[in-house]
C-alpha cells in the first residue's frame, strides 16, 4: 500500500502553512521529512494520517492495506501519548480491544510486540516507572501491535537524550531489517534523517514547499554512527537548510 500526496495546500484561516506538496511514499521505505521549525512538518503528518483535512489537494491511498492490518496509518508521538493509568500491557491492549481482540489472541499479540521491543519484563509497569527511552519503546510496541501499513512518526526521539536516541535508532533499524515497514519520519535532527531515511524530503520555511528530495542509497543496516559518507550528506542537507532556518528563526520573532 503506497501513499500519494497530490497538490496539497493547507492554510489556517489566512495563514498559509503548506504549498503545493507532491510526494510519493512507497511501500517498505522510510521517508524522512526535515525543515526549519514551524514550516508545517507536523501539519503535513496530520494530513497524511487523516487527523486533519487539507485546504486543497488529496492524500491518496494506493492499493489495500495488507491482510491483518488493524490500523493502516499509525502514529508514534513525540511525547509518547501513553495513558498514565494503564500498565505497559494495558496501553497496548487499549488499541486492540476496539478491534474485538480478546483473551489468548490479545495476549499473544502483546507478548510478541513486547518481545520485539525488549519490554517483556516491564509488561506490568506503569508509564511513570519507565525511562523516556522505554516509554517510546512502549509507544513503538503499541504501534506494531496494530500491524500498521504506514507508521507516521513525529520527532519520536527528540524528547530523549542522545545516548538513548542512538540505541533507539539501532532498535528501529533492526526492526526494519527484520520486517521492512513503511514510515514517514519527521525530524529536525539531520543525523537521524541520514541514519534512517531512504529518502529525505527537505521543506522550505513556511509556507512549506518541497525544496529537494535527497536519496540515501546505503542500506540501513550498513549505516553506522559517524560514517563519513553519511556525514557528507548531512552537511549537504544542512547547507540546503541553513539560510531557510535562519530566516525562519528571524520570522518567528516578528509574529
Amino acid at each position: 500500500m503506497d501513499i500519494q500526496l497530490s497538490n496539497i495546500n493547507h492554510s489556517y484561516d489566512k495563514f498559509e502553512v503548506l504549498r503545493d506538496i507532491n510526494l510519493d511514499i512507497p511501500t517498505g521505505k522510510i521517508i524522512c521529512i526535515v525543515g526549519p521549525s514551524g514550516c508545517g512538518k507536523s501539519t503535513l503528518l496530520r494530513l497524511i494520517g487523516g487527523l486533519e483535512q487539507p485546504t486543497s489537494g488529496q492524500v491518496l491511498q494506493l492499493g489495500n492495506a495488507p491482510a491483518g492490518c488493524l490500523n493502516p496509518l499509525t502514529y508514534i508521538f513525540q511525547d509518547f501519548a501513553l495513558l498514565p493509568w494503564r500498565t505497559v500491557q494495558g496501553n497496548i491492549s487499549l488499541v486492540l480491544e476496539d478491534h474485538g481482540i480478546r483473551g489468548a489472541e490479545l495476549q499473544k499479540i502483546i507478548d510478541d510486540v513486547l518481545a520485539r521491543t525488549k519490554l517483556t519484563d516491564f509488561a506490568n509497569a506503569l508509564p511513570k516507572q519507565l525511562s523516556g527511552g522505554m516509554k517510546q519503546r512502549v509507544a513503538i510496541a503499541r504501534a506494531l501491535a496494530v500491524k500498521p501499513a504506514v507508521m507516521l512518526m513525529d520527532e519520536p526521539l527528540s524528547a530523549l537524550d542522545s545516548q538513548t536516541r542512538e540505541l533507539l535508532m539501532d532498535d528501529l533499524v533492526s526492526l526494519w531489517s527484520r520486517t521492512p515497514f513503511t514510515a514517514v519520519y519527521v525530524t529536525h535532527n539531520l543525523a537521524e534523517a541520514v541514519r534512517l531515511g531512504h529518502s529525505i524530503v527537505v521543506l522550505s520555511r513556511r509556507p512549506g514547499e518541497i525544496r529537494e528530495i535527497v536519496k540515501v542509497d546505503k542500506p540501513l543496516s550498513e549505516r553506522k554512527h559517524g560514517d563519513t559518507d553519511l556525514e557528507a550528506q548531512q552537511k549537504y542537507l544542512w547547507d540546503l537548510m541553513r539560510d531557510e532556518a535562519r530566516a525562519a528563526d528571524a520570522e518567528l520573532l516578528n509574529v
Binding site: 494520517g49 487527523l51 488493524l70 490500523n71 496509518l73 499509525t74 502514529y75 508521538f77 511525547d79 501519548a81 495513558l83 498514565p84 493509568w85 494503564r86 487499549l94 488499541v95 480491544e97 476496539d98 506503569l126 511513570k128 503499541r142 496494530v146
Partner: protein, 266 residues
C-alpha cells in the same frame, strides 16, 4: 574562589510543596483542642454557659446511643444524604461530561448552571415541598440540586483538562467515540471529579441539616434544632459532633476511593 575559610554547605531550599501522608496530625489537632476545652471548663476558666464540658457531651452521646435515639436520628439523615447526593452527583457527572464533550450542550447549559449555582438552595425548600411533598421527596430534591451544581462545574473542568494529545492518540488508533470517552476521557478526568466530590458532599451535609431544621421529625438537624431551642448545649454539641464525624467519614471515604482509583498518580 578557593577561599577556604568561607567554605560552607549550600543551603537546602527545596523542601515543602509535596504533600505526604501524615494522618496522625489530624487526630492530634482534634485531641489538643478537646483537651484544652476540657481543662478550661473543668477549671472554670470557661464558664458552663460558654461551652459545655466535652466529657458531658460524651456522656450525652453515650446516653443517646443507649436509648437507641442515636439511630432514630442518624439513620434517616444518612439515608437522605445518600439518596439525595447519589442522584445529584450521578446526574451532575453525566451533565458535566456532556458539557465537556459537546459545544452545543456547553453553550446551552453553562449559563444555566452559573445561574443556579449561587442560589441558596435552602430558599427553594418551600417550592420543593409543593413539588415533591413534605416528606422525603423535597429533602432528596434539595440535596440533589445542591450537590448537582458543584459536581457539574468540577466535572466539565476536569474533562477540559484531559490531555488533548491522549485523545488525538485514541483517534489516530481508530478507537470508537465511546471507547475514547470511557477509556481516555473519564479516567483522565477522574482526579478532578473526585476532588469536586469533596465539595459537593460537604454542601450536601449542610443542606441536609438545613432541610431537617425546617421540617422533619427525626434527623440530626431536627435534633440540633430541638436542643438549640431549649439551650441544651450538651445535646446541641452532641449533634454537632455527629455532623463533624459524618464530615470526616465522608472525607476519609473519598480519600480511600482516591487512593484506589488514582494509584497511578502517586
Amino acid at each position: 574562589m578557593s577561599d577556604l575559610k568561607n567554605t560552607r554547605p549550600v543551603k537546602f531550599r527545596g523542601g515543602g510543596f509535596a504533600p505526604t501522608s501524615r494522618r496522625w496530625v489530624g487526630f492530634v489537632v482534634f485531641a489538643v483542642l478537646i483537651a484544652l476545652a476540657e481543662i478550661g471548663t473543668q477549671t472554670g476558666f470557661i464558664t458552663a454557659l460558654t461551652l459545655p464540658k466535652p466529657s458531658d457531651v460524651l456522656q450525652t452521646f453515650i446516653d443517646l446511643y443507649n436509648s437507641g435515639l442515636l439511630f432514630t436520628h442518624a439513620v434517616p439523615s444518612l439515608t437522605r444524604l445518600a439518596v439525595g447526593s447519589a442522584m445529584g452527583i450521578s446526574v451532575g457527572i453525566m451533565v458535566g461530561v456532556m458539557i465537556g464533550l459537546f459545544s452545543y450542550v456547553r453553550a446551552g447549559l453553562v449559563p444555566l448552571v452559573a445561574a443556579i449555582f449561587p442560589i441558596p438552595k435552602i430558599a427553594l425548600l418551600p417550592l420543593f415541598v409543593i413539588w415533591f411533598g413534605i416528606d422525603e421527596g423535597s429533602k432528596y430534591a434539595l440535596i440533589a440540586l445542591g450537590t448537582f451544581t458543584p459536581t457539574v462545574v468540577a466535572t466539565y473542568g476536569a474533562v477540559d483538562n484531559v490531555d488533548r494529545t491522549l485523545i488525538r492518540m485514541g483517534q489516530s488508533f481508530g478507537l470508537s467515540w465511546m471507547s475514547i470517552v470511557r477509556k481516555i476521557v473519564l479516567p483522565g478526568a477522574m482526579p478532578g471529579i473526585l476532588s469536586g466530590l469533596r465539595i459537593s458532599l460537604a454542601i450536601g451535609i449542610i443542606l441536609l441539616v438545613a432541610a431537617e431544621m425546617l421540617g422533619a421529625e427525626h434527623g440530626i438537624g431536627a435534633y440540633i434544632l430541638e436542643a438549640g431551642s431549649l439551650y441544651d448545649l450538651e445535646r446541641l454539641f452532641a449533634g454537632v459532633v455527629m455532623l463533624s464525624v459524618l464530615g470526616v467519614v465522608v472525607s476519609m471515604a473519598i480519600g480511600v476511593v482516591e487512593r484506589r482509583v488514582l494509584r497511578w498518580r502517586s
